[in-house]
Symmetry: C2
Subunit: 551 residues, 2 copies
């Protein structure tokens, strides 16, 4: 008789970028891989973060045996505190990932309750029916790992984010040898990073960035300011190495960059010559030609160090004419406008700005098509899914897998909430679990829904008008002129005339009222009349809020 | 004695993409080149369009002799009706541009009053001190022109948007011969398209798109749906040509595509075989393998035909499994999310989607570095400015001009509102004129300012709370429990408890009030107390609107 099936259940990150979380379930046992956040899209007004929905897990929390984290990026670990508040479960990850998780747990005051274990690549953790083995991968953060999930039905290869980089500047190679061993038997399932499946060929090595940064820093006539992702420790190391070669001191600014650099130094991931790194408060005391600033702001984040410099509001760094600013990063989709606005502002301030369109100062962290093909050939999977990607990436990745001979019925493009069931007879879709966006707004988790967002969008588009009328209870007449206010509707010059018009409309609308007053009816009528009047006058539809007071 | 200087005054499009408008002034005479719109950026909440500020012209409207339009794109002609409403001035443009302008003027009911003249390339128009000669350029719309502006001080070469395309699919070559003639004397000023100055080498010819579209349409097994910019008539022609070769009928949908195709046919810019083009209402009557749909939506515009198809809400077109959808366009910066969301939705609906990352189905309409160098070498200008571009483009273009030997003091990166003065002694910055963003919102032009936008952003971020208290005039006590409402703040489950809390805070805040009541003070106190309470509870800052009614 056959045993239970393996169930593969993405709760986030399949069909979208970010918020990665995958469940593997066998019998009564569930493990989770990654618990990430997604940064809000344009129309998620006022939202701070989006996290995965864990309703399915909460139905039987004791079934969750462990959480495994592939690497320390926000879209893979950022929602862990929210999960641990609900289910206290052991967490396994590599050493640098643990360092980044600890920072996060402290922010949420969970550092004492959480049960986080460091695992080295090659080690295996038993979790219920699963034996989970970590294997090294190259990615844009050190200590990234993929997982070999040994199940009673065979091995699942879950790559996490990865690329092949045969000349990495630090960190490890993707462990092709171990993947080749898996391939002798053949994997049950390959779940592979799809982020850059649109790109032909190979992703360039981090080495070309090292060379490019060296050239730029060597040629700079004044100060050099470099921004990159705070977690891109290898990039920070390159800048430090160049600083050493060209006899410059390094100043770090921006909260997440300062924290990550400190943590990476403590854990031994950053090699910094003695006396080289100084506080940005001391920057003014050193000649421009002897300084490099490393800062946050690679995505144009409004409160980041680089954005403050660009806008002339950074406490310690003012942009000068001889400054060379290097954006060692690409804009994440959706951030293009913010990033290019910063570049423009830096040029206006007189700086020379180097970004990826002008010189190779950044490479991607994800595998391109030829790399994806290599992994598939090595592990010889029976079934295939793309992970980490928008829907088109997952579809294109499935087609790529089929190009290499995978049968159409064995390759899937599944998305958040889909359940993929795999047993000895094959693989099939088997229903869905809830996997909606959960919004974090301030302290609230899940209390903002699409109705609240719709109201915010309405307010954002045309502002609002409040109409207050106080009416004599007996006679149904206005006891004073209606009070009208607007916000976000029209400028101060035009406002008085517009509001006068509204008062006339309100007075006219109530003029006919007599006898038993249906307050709901009055409010609806006021709302309609005022909205119609304003639309006629302006072709705008502000939110109209009528308030009636009986006297 | 030397005569007056030439003054070059950009009112839009220099330091930003879109909203192109340039003034050239000599003595009492002013001409304007292009009067375009900019589409609102993310934080311009609720805004429909951004147009140039014409305060400077309105100081002496009679000085404006004429408007010259280089081509029919929105960012070059879209604000013309707003200008003509203020100053009725003759307009000169090529034939297709005139067709597009006419559509626009009809929308604004200006078609009878406007004085629009068609000019052929090679013809010259006298306008005060200026003789303005049109010359042909290649761009992503037929009938695009550059201007040779003959002034008493020399010739200004104003390229408009252009590229070099030696094998254009329709429309004309950039007139290198005439530019070479100008170069014999040398131009006074070269004002050149900077949009793609970041790109090395040459922009590919439209011809490669023709080949690519032919391959895709020839290989398609079912229906083909192609979207592109409605003004990209040459692309529409390519699709029609391919339709003819592969024996398919063409169906056009989306208002601007239908209008432009009709206009281009009437003016003879589109060659359509008899009986080939049909109404999309008849689509269902034709087999999928014999049909091509051409539609709007290349930028993911929410109400466009393609977006409706992607969302399953198009009246006549439902996406099927055998459909091939081609995006013959790139996302304009800022539209990436909308475009990729459409692609994902089309994949989910089962279609095969071809876009520029997968096949060369689009090329840019602007010159790259080597083309820019050719023009500069040909016209041998004494002075240089980049036009059409964000600030970084203008700076990079200046540096490129200097690489070709232009002296630093002769090459400028000027932006909207800067006045560049050129006379026989050289060129220099000479003050500024007003050139702010003018927002169009519904019928309002300029009545929404940055304060209104700030209020909208505040409302968008955390919503609002309205607190109504009615207080006994004599005793300063609440006559009833405070009324509290929220919009866009918190979901329906959490709202009652939150509003209860606000009522308690309000009651407590007013509990101490006695005697002569300072209403402003009460409102401020209420606002502060409620805001503080909500921030403590939620870490959000909704707009708090206290309304006090005396009874």
């Amino acid at each position: 008789m056959s045993g239970p099936a393996l169930r593969v259940i993405p709760l986030g990150g399949l069909g979208e970028i970010g918020r990665n979380m995958m469940l593997y379930e066998y019998g009564d046992d569930i493990i989770a891989v990654d618990v990430g956040v997604m940064f809000p899209e344009e129309e998620m007004l006022g939202i701070d973060l989006v996290i995965p929905e864990i309703t399915y897990l909460m139905q039987a929390p004791q079934r969750l045996r462990a959480v495994f984290l592939t690497h320390g990026h926000e879209d893979h670990i950022g929602a862990l505190p929210f999960l641990l508040k609900e289910i206290n479960v052991p967490v396994y990850c590599t050493r640098l990932t643990r360092g980044l998780v600890d920072v996060k747990l402290r922010e949420h005051r969970l550092q004492h309750d959480a049960d986080v274990h460091v695992v080295e690549p090659g080690e295996t953790v038993a979790a219920g029916a699963f034996d989970v083995e970590f294997f090294a991968v190259s990615h844009s953060i050190p200590d990234a790992a993929g997982l070999l999930i040994h199940t009673p039905l065979g091995v699942v290869v879950h790559t996490g984010d990865f690329k092949l980089d045969h000349t990495p500047v630090m960190g490890q190679h993707t462990d092709l040898t171990r993947l080749g061993e898996i391939g002798r038997e053949g994997a049950l399932l390959l779940a592979m990073d799809s982020t850059y499946v649109e790109y032909e060929g190979y992703t360039p090595s981090e080495q070309i960035v090292a060379e490019s940064l060296d050239r730029v820093i060597g040629a700079a006539e004044g100060r050099v300011i470099v921004t990159t992702f705070a977690s891109l420790i290898s990039r920070v190391q390159m800048v430090i190495d160049a600083a050493e070669r060209y006899n410059r001191r390094v100043f770090v600014t921006g909260r997440s960059m300062v924290n990550n650099v400190q943590m990476a130094r403590e854990l031994g991931y950053l090699r910094v010559p003695a006396n080289m790194m100084m506080s940005v408060r001391e920057l003014a005391e050193h000649p421009a030609t002897r300084t490099i600033v490393i800062c946050t702001g690679s995505q144009g984040e409004p409160t980041s160090a680089l954005t403050r410099m660009a806008n002339g509001t950074h406490q310690h760094v003012t942009i000068h004419r001889d400054d060379t600013v290097v954006l060692s990063s690409n804009p994440v989709p959706g951030n293009e406008m913010l990033v290019y606005r910063n570049i423009d502002s830096l040029y206006r301030a007189g700086a020379r700005v180097i970004y990826n369109r002008l010189a190779p100062v950044h490479v991607r962290g994800h595998a391109s098509q030829e790399e994806l093909k290599i992994i598939q050939r090595l592990v010889r999977p029976r079934h295939f899914i793309g992970i980490h990607g928008e829907y088109r990436h997952l579809v294109l990745h499935r087609l790529l897998a089929m190009q290499l001979g995978m049968a159409a019925e064995d390759a899937f493009a599944i998305t958040d909430g889909d359940v993929l069931e795999i047993d000895e007879d094959g693989a099939r879709l088997a229903g869905r679990v809830p996997a909606e966006y959960v919004y974090v707004d301030g302290l609230g988790v899940g209390d903002v829904d699409h109705i609240v967002l719709r109201d915010r969008a309405h307010l954002a588009s045309d502002g609002m008008i409040v109409v207050v009328v106080s009416v004599d209870r007996q006679r149904g007449e206005l006891t004073r002129p209606p009070e009208v206010m607007s916000h976000g509707f029209v400028g101060p010059e035009e406002e008085p005339e517009m509001l006068d018009g509204v008062r006339r409309v309100v007075a006219a609308a109530l003029g006919g009222e007599r006898h038993p007053i249906d307050w709901t009816g009055v409010r609806e009528a006021l709302k309609d009349e005022v909205a119609r009047y304003l639309y006629e006058q302006t072709r705008r539809r502000p939110l109209v809020l009528p308030i009636t007071v009986e006297v």
